[in-house]
Amino acid sequence: MADEVLFDYLHMEMIHEFFNENYKKEGKSEESMTTLELLGFRVGQCVIERLTKDSPRFKDELDAMKFTCKDFWMSVYKKQIDNLRTNHQGVYVLQDNKFRLLTNLSSGKQYVEAAPRFLAFPCGLIRGALSNLGITSVVTAEVAIMPACKFQIQIQRV
């Protein structure tokens, strides 16, 4: 059974690599966030495909969101989402009070400016998971106080 920290370290190195000097010189640092998000997207799709193999079919969108909050979060971050809010019009807010990828950075206001780059991959992860369940969405994240963070999911209805 692989240790959880392996993914944490790999993720940290990925971020370090994407935002290092080489990218800044070639002017590609704006693309780094997008690339990270796309990476998360593809991974999210694969993870969901494996996870939903055995579970019964979802009745509706809310069911799919609840699955994301419980089983998906549990398997990726080993804990459940602390708070899910919705306005029933396609906007969901997921709040995690102790986000695993941020716990090692700080637990207060330090490094809050650097936090967004650590959230690009998780945003993509959620977007990929939802897209494979048939939901097109836009996912953004914000951090007020480490290590709590909020993911805002906006469903695009065509």
Binding site: Q45, C46, I48, R50, T52, K53, P56, R57, G134
Partner: protein
């Protein structure tokens, strides 16, 4: 022995259709296409028996005079369709279920293949 196997994507276009070599392929393409309607109806119908709604395996979709068509939908809205000959009466429900299970496992493995982009036609050399 299945006569035709098809994998249909979320947007209802075929990712993979394979029939036994000696058979008329076009006829099976047509059969699979019409069975898509039956699948849609089953997924969207509000059934009194909610247990029904939660299953991935859809069972016998409809029998024609020569063939029986079975369906299976995953949570990512990928549909698997198997067509077998009606004369083959020895095939049981359990065997069909296990065939779908294997198909689903193979599909999951394929999605995780880094060289496969979601939505591509499935090919293998």
């Amino acid at each position: 022995m299945a006569v035709c196997v098809a994998v249909i994507a979320k947007e209802n276009y075929p990712l993979y259709i394979k029939t036994l070599p000696n058979e008329n392929e076009l006829k099976f393409h047509y059969t699979v296409h019409t069975s898509l309607d039956v699948i849609e109806e089953r997924i969207h119908s509000v059934s009194k028996n909610t247990n029904d709604l939660r299953e991935l395996y859809l069972g016998l979709l409809y029998p024609t005079e020569d063939y029986k068509v079975y369906g299976y939908v995953t949570n990512s809205r990928i549909k698997f369709i198997i067509v077998i000959e009606s004369t083959n009466a020895t095939i049981r429900d359990n065997e069909i279920r296990s065939m779908f299970r294997k198909l689903h496992n193979a599909y999951t493995d394929m999605v995780c293949n880094p060289f496969y982009t979601n939505g591509d036609i499935i090919e293998s050399t």
